[in-house]
C-alpha cells in the first residue's frame, strides 16, 4: 500500500469514528501484550510475552474518559504508568486478586504461578513475592488462572482438567483439587459465584464444581457441531442482576452456543459467526449486564454481537459493531504480518467502554455508540 493510500484509509476510518465512537484513545506500548486485567475501575495491568525479559505494567486510564461534568475542561488523554516490573519470562495469563494489590501470572509454558505485589504510593516498582507450584509435571501448555471472589487471597489454577487446584496464596496450602476422569486441556477457568467455578476445556467440555464440596464435578459435553476437531472457548456471565448465569461456547469454526448454567446440556440460542482461521489468543466475553457477546483473536477486529437476535435454529449472524481500529492502523506495506487482536476486556461499570490490544503493541480504549435500529437490512440471514 502506498504511503498516501495508507494515510487515506486511516483518515477514512477516523472520519467514520467521529460518529461510531463517543470516546477513542489509541496508544502504542513498547512491546505487545496478551493480557489485560482490571486492577480497579480505572487501572489495568498488561505484560509482555517475548521469550526473555518482559515488563509488567499497571496503567491508569485517561482521566478524560471518566470526567462526567466538565468533561471539556479535562485535557488528560494519556495513560499514566503507575507501576512497572520485570518478569524473567513471557506472561501468558495474568489475574488480579480482588481486594488486594496482588497479581498472579503464568508464563504460558509451565504450570507454576508467580505472585507479585503491585505496590502502593511509595514506590512504582512491581515486586515478585512468591511462587505457587502447579500440579502437572510435563504440561503441554500454560495454566489458566481464576482469582476467587472470596475475601482471602486464593487462586484456582491448572493447565488441564485433571490438575486444577485452589491454592491459598499466603500459606501456599492447597485447599481443593478438581478430580476428573480425563485430562482435557483447559481454555478457561472462571468463578461464577464465591465457590462455584467452570473449567472450560478446549475440546468443548465444561466441568462445573464447588470448591466447598468434594463431590465429583458436573460435566457437560461439547455442543453438537459439524466441526469435529474444533477448539472451543467459554465465557460465563458474572452478573448479579441476572436471574441466572448464562454461558457461551464458541468453536474455532464459528459456532456459538448460549446455555443457562443450570442446564448446560441445552442450548438457549445459537448462531454461526463468520470465522475463518484458528488462533491461540481467542477471547469470547459477555458484556457486563447486557446480552452482548464480544469476540476477538481471529483477526485485527473486535466484534460485538447482540444475542437477542439469536435463535434456537442455527443461522448466520452479523456483528452489531466492529472495532476495526487495530486492523486499519497496521502497515501492510512493510511486509509484516497482519495485525491480530491478542486480548480485549469490557469495563466492569461503563457499559460501552472496552479495551483491546493487538500483536503490534497497540492498545485502544473505545467507547462505542450503539448503531441505529435495524433499517431495511436485517442482521441475520435465513437458517442454515
Amino acid at each position: 500500500m502506498e504511503s498516501s493510500e495508507f494515510e487515506d484509509a486511516l483518515d477514512e476510518w477516523f472520519i467514520e469514528s467521529l460518529t461510531a465512537y463517543k470516546d477513542l484513545h489509541v496508544y502504542q506500548l513498547e512491546h505487545p501484550t496478551q493480557v489485560i486485567e482490571w486492577t480497579s475501575g480505572k487501572t489495568v495491568c498488561v505484560a509482555g510475552y517475548g521469550s526473555s525479559k518482559n515488563q509488567l505494567l499497571e496503567l491508569r486510564l485517561p482521566l478524560k474518559l471518566f470526567a462526567e461534568e466538565n468533561k471539556g475542561l479535562c485535557a488528560e488523554r494519556d495513560f499514566k504508568l503507575l507501576h512497572g516490573g520485570f518478569s524473567e519470562g513471557p506472561v501468558g495469563c495474568l489475574r488480579h486478586v480482588p481486594a488486594s494489590r496482588l497479581i498472579v501470572t503464568n508464563d504460558g509454558q509451565g504450570t507454576d504461578l508467580q505472585v507479585w505485589d503491585l505496590g502502593g504510593d511509595d514506590s512504582d516498582v512491581i515486586r515478585r513475592t512468591g511462587t505457587v507450584k502447579g500440579r502437572e509435571s510435563a504440561p503441554q501448555r500454560g495454566s489458566r488462572i481464576a482469582a476467587s471472589p472470596s475475601s482471602s487471597p486464593q487462586v484456582l489454577h491448572g493447565a488441564e482438567s485433571s490438575s486444577v487446584q485452589l491454592t491459598h496464596l499466603t500459606s501456599g496450602q492447597s485447599l481443593y483439587k478438581l478430580e476428573t476422569d480425563t485430562s482435557d486441556p483447559l481454555n478457561s477457568l472462571q468463578f461464577t459465584s464465591d465457590a462455584v467455578f467452570l473449567a472450560g476445556c478446549s475440546n468443548g467440555r465444561i466441568y462445573m464444581a464447588d470448591t466447598r464440596v468434594s463431590a465429583a464435578p458436573q460435566m457437560s459435553p461439547p455442543p453438537a457441531s459439524s466441526g469435529q476437531s474444533a477448539v472451543w472457548w467459554t465465557d460465563a456471565t458474572a452478573d448479579p442482576q441476572q436471574a441466572s448465569c448464562r454461558v457461551v461456547r464458541l468453536s474455532s469454526s464459528g459456532h456459538a452456543v448460549v446455555s443457562d448454567l443450570r442446564k448446560l446440556g441445552e442450548a438457549v440460542c445459537q448462531a454461526q459467526l463468520d470465522i475463518h482461521c484458528s488462533s491461540d489468543n481467542v477471547t469470547v466475553s459477555w458484556a457486563p449486564r447486557r446480552n452482548y457477546i464480544s469476540v476477538s483473536g481471529f483477526s485485527g477486529v473486535v466484534e460485538i454481537y447482540d444475542t437477542c437476535d439469536w435463535r434456537m435454529e442455527l443461522r448466520r449472524v452479523r456483528p452489531l459493531f466492529q472495532h476495526r481500529g487495530h486492523e486499519v492502523s497496521c502497515r501492510q506495506a512493510d511486509g509484516c504480518d497482519p495485525v491480530c487482536i491478542t486480548a480485549h476486556v469490557w469495563h466492569p461499570e461503563r457499559p460501552q467502554t472496552l479495551l483491546s490490544t493487538a500483536t503490534d503493541g497497540s492498545v485502544h480504549v473505545w467507547d462505542w455508540v450503539e448503531p441505529d435500529s435495524k433499517g431495511p437490512e436485517s442482521k441475520s440471514e435465513p437458517s442454515l
Binding site: 467521529l18 477513542l24 484513545h25 499514566k80 504508568l81 512504582d124 516498582v125
Partner: protein
C-alpha cells in the same frame, strides 16, 4: 577525578519551570531560564543564589542556552539578565530569538498591566536582554570560547526548539529541553547523532505516561467542531499566531473538503502576515510536507478558510474563527469571545496552556461568571473545551532518544524519584548506564572517564610493536612505559631516552649489589662453575653465560665469587644488577641464599 556537576534550580518538588546549572571542565552553563507559571510572587523565578549569593552572574557563568520559546523555559530570562545581572552570551536558535520577545512582552503586559505587579521586568529590559542573544543554526558547532563549544540539534516540539550538545575538552553533555520523537503535521521528530555524551539530560514530566495518539486528539477536535456547527453554533479558537494554528487549519481544511461542509472558517487579520513572514524565514524548521505546500502556495491560501472581518462576528449561523491572542487576554479573540459567550450553542476551544490572570485561564478553571471592564459581568454559557496538542516525549520516546545518542549516563529532571524507580531500572537494564534523578536544588556529580588523545613518537611505537602481540585495539587497552611531555596544548608520549635528550638531562643508572655468603670447600672458580650449572638447570629459558673473565651472567646480571682471606671455604657471592632487572635480581639472590645443591 574528572566530573560533571548538574543542579536543577528550584525548590522542593515543584515542576513547571526549567533552569539547570551544569559545571563541566571548569565551565559553568545555565540551561534554560524558565518562569514558574503557578506562582505570583518571587517563587516564580529560579533561585539564582546557587550561582552566587550576591550580585551579578556574569563572572560565574560562561554562557546561557535557551532551548525554545515556551515561558517555562525562557520566561525568567529578562529578569535574570537585567534585574539580577548577566552580560555574557545567551544562545538560542534563530526562530526562538524572533519569537521569544513577542511572548515575553505579551506575558509582561498580562502580569503588569492586567494584574498590576511591580517586581517584574519592563519592555526595555526585554529589548536589552535580546541584544545579548547569539543565534544558533542547526548542526553548526559554535565556539563559546577556546575550550567550550556547543551545537544545536532539531527537537521537534515547537518551531525553533533545539536540543543542545555541549563539549569542553573531551567531556560532553546533551540537554534536550522539550522534544518529541513522533513527527506531526507541521514539525518533524527530534534527531541527534551517536554523539555519546557523558550525560544526557532530559525532562521527565511525561516519562511515566504513554501518550494518546495525535490522531485521537485531532479526532476529538474535529468531533467537537462538527457537533457545534451541526447545531448552528459558532466556534472560537484562540491561537498564538504560529505553530498550532497552521496545523489546525490544515486539519479543518481537509475535514471540510472530505465532509463537503459549507460553514465558513475564518482566521483573524494580523495572523496571516506574521505567520507567513515567520514561516518563510524558518522554512528549514518545518517538515517536508509543509515545505512542499509552502513552495506551491501561500501558507494561508486555503479553499475553505478566509480572512476575518470583525463585522462577521455578528453574522447568523455557524462558523469557525481562529483569532489571536491565544489566552483570550486582549485583542480580537477577546472581542469575539464577549459576543459569543452568552449562547450555549457556541463553543470555545483552548488549544494550549493559559497564564494565570487571563480569561482563558479562568474559564479553563470552570469559572462561568467573569468580571469585565467597568464592573460588567459576563455569563459564560458557551461550551468550553480544553485540548492539549503539545508534542512531548513519553516513556517510549525517552528510550528512543537514549538509543540514538548513546550517552554514558542518563539524568532526568523534574520528576519524583519514588515514582520513577521503574524507568530508572528500565534504563539501567537496557543500556547498562547509570540513571540519576536529582531533586530540585540537589546537585548530582557524575564521574566521567574522558579519554585524552596523545601523540606517540615513532621510536616508542616501533619499540612497542617489537614486543610482539596483537595490533593496537581500542577495545583492549595495553599498558606501556613512556614519558608524557606537555608543551602548550600538545601532548606527546616519548621513550625515556628521548625525553632525557629533549630535556638535556643525563640518565641516572641505578645498580643494586647484593652479597650472599656461601660455604663451599672448592676453589673460587670451581664454586663459580657450580653456580653456573645450578642456575642453568633452574632458570631454563634465560640466557646464562660463564664468561672467561670469571663471572657468570644471567641475562645482564653479574655474579662473581670471592673468598675471604682467613677462610678459603667462606665464599662471598657478589650479585649486581641494574634497576630494570630488579625482579630477576631479587629472585637470584633468594635462590642463591638457599645454597648450592650437594655434588
Amino acid at each position: 577525578m574528572p566530573e560533571i556537576k548538574v543542579t536543577p534550580l528550584g525548590a522542593g518538588q515543584d515542576v513547571g519551570r526549567s533552569c539547570i546549572l551544569v559545571s563541566i571542565g571548569g565551565k559553568n552553563i545555565m540551561l534554560d531560564c524558565g518562569m514558574h507559571m503557578g506562582y505570583n510572587d518571587d517563587r516564580r523565578f529560579p533561585d539564582f543564589s546557587y550561582v552566587t549569593q550576591n550580585g551579578r552572574l556574569t563572572d560565574f557563568l560562561d554562557c546561557v542556552i535557551i532551548s525554545h520559546f515556551h515561558l517555562d523555559h525562557c520566561g525568567a530570562l529578562p529578569y535574570m539578565s537585567e534585574m539580577v545581572g548577566y552580560d555574557g552570551p545567551i544562545y538560542m536558535t534563530h526562530p526562538t530569538k524572533a519569537i521569544c520577545p513577542i511572548l515575553l512582552e505579551d506575558f509582561r503586559k498580562i502580569t503588569v498591566d492586567k494584574k498590576g505587579e511591580t517586581n517584574f521586568f519592563t519592555s526595555q529590559m526585554i529589548k536589552d536582554c535580546m541584544k545579548k542573544v547569539v543565534p544558533l543554526n542547526l548542526h553548526q558547532t559554535v565556539q563559546v570560547d577556546d575550550e567550550l563549544e556547543i551545537k544545536a540539534y532539531y527537537a521537534g516540539h515547537v518551531l525553533g526548539a533545539a536540543m543542545v550538545y555541549i563539549k569542553v575538552g573531551s567531556e560532553s553533555v546533551v540537554y534536550t529541553g522539550d522534544y518529541n520523537m513522533t513527527p506531526d503535521r507541521h514539525l518533524g521528530a527530534a534527531w541527534i547523532d551517536k554523539c555519546r555524551p557523558d550525560i544526557l539530560i532530559s525532562e521527565s514530566t511525561y516519562a511515566t505516561t504513554i501518550r494518546d495518539s495525535k490522531r485521537c486528539r485531532e479526532r476529538d477536535f474535529l468531533k467537537k467542531v462538527h457537533e457545534s456547527i451541526e447545531r448552528g453554533g459558532k466556534v472560537l479558537i484562540p491561537v498564538f499566531a504560529l505553530g498550532r494554528a497552521q496545523e489546525l487549519c490544515i486539519l479543518l481544511e481537509t475535514f471540510w473538503e472530505r465532509m463537503n461542509l459549507k460553514a465558513p472558517i475564518y482566521f483573524s487579520t494580523g495572523m496571516t502576515e506574521k505567520a507567513n513572514h515567520y514561516y518563510k524565514l524558518f522554512i528549514t524548521w518545518t517538515n517536508q510536507k509543509i515545505r512542499k505546500t509552502f513552495v506551491q502556495r501561500n501558507m494561508f491560501e486555503f479553499k475553505h478558510i478566509k480572512a476575518f472581518d470583525r463585522s462577521y462576528a455578528d453574522n447568523p449561523g455557524p462558523m469557525v474563527v481562529f483569532a489571536t491572542p491565544g489566552m483570550l487576554h486582549a485583542g480580537q479573540s477577546l472581542q469575539i469571545f464577549k459576543k459569543w459567550a452568552g449562547n450555549e450553542k457556541n463553543m470555545v476551544i483552548m488549544p494550549g496552556y493559559c497564564v494565570q490572570g487571563t480569561i482563558g485561564h479562568k474559564i479553563l478553571n470552570g469559572q462561568r461568571k467573569l468580571e469585565m471592564e467597568g464592573r460588567a459581568t459576563l455569563d459564560v454559557k458557551l461550551q468550553v473545551e480544553y485540548m492539549s496538542f503539545s508534542a512531548h516525549a513519553d516513556a517510549k520516546g525517552i528510550m528512543q532518544l537514549i538509543r540514538m545518542a548513546e550517552p554514558r549516563n542518563m539524568l532526568l529532571v523534574h520528576g519524583e524519584a519514588a515514582k520513577m524507580e521503574f524507568l530508572k531500572g528500565k534504563i539501567e537494564q537496557e543500556f547498562s548506564i547509570d540513571c540519576y534523578m536529582p531533586a530540585n536544588g540537589e546537585t548530582v556529580t557524575v564521574k566521567t572517564n574522558p579519554s585524552v588523545p596523545v601523540d606517540m613518537s615513532v621510536n616508542l611505537l616501533k619499540r612497542e610493536m617489537a614486543l610482539g602481540g596483537p595490533l593496537p585495539d581500542p577495545k583492549k587497552p595495553r599498558s606501556m612505559h613512556g614519558t608524557l611531555i606537555m608543551k602548550e596544548s600538545s601532548l606527546k608520549l616519548v621513550s625515556s631516552e628521548q625525553a632525557l635528550k629533549e630535556l638535556g638531562l643525563n640518565e641516572h643508572q641505578l645498580r643494586f649489589t647484593c652479597r650472599v655468603p656461601l660455604q663451599d670447600p672448592h676453589s673460587d672458580s670451581e664454586t663459580l662453575h657450580r653456580i653456573y650449572t645450578h642456575l642453568k638447570s633452574l632458570l631454563k629459558g634465560y640466557t646464562i653465560q660463564h664468561l672467561p673473565d670469571g663471572t657468570v651472567m644471567v641475562e645482564s646480571i653479574v655474579v662473581k665469587v670471592s673468598s675471604s682471606a682467613e677462610d678459603a671455604n667462606a665464599k662471598i657471592l657478589l650479585l649486581s644488577w641494574s634497576y630494570q632487572d630488579e625482579d630477576l635480581g631479587s629472585f637470584l639472590s633468594s635462590v642463591l641464599k638457599k645454597g648450592l645443591p650437594k655434588m
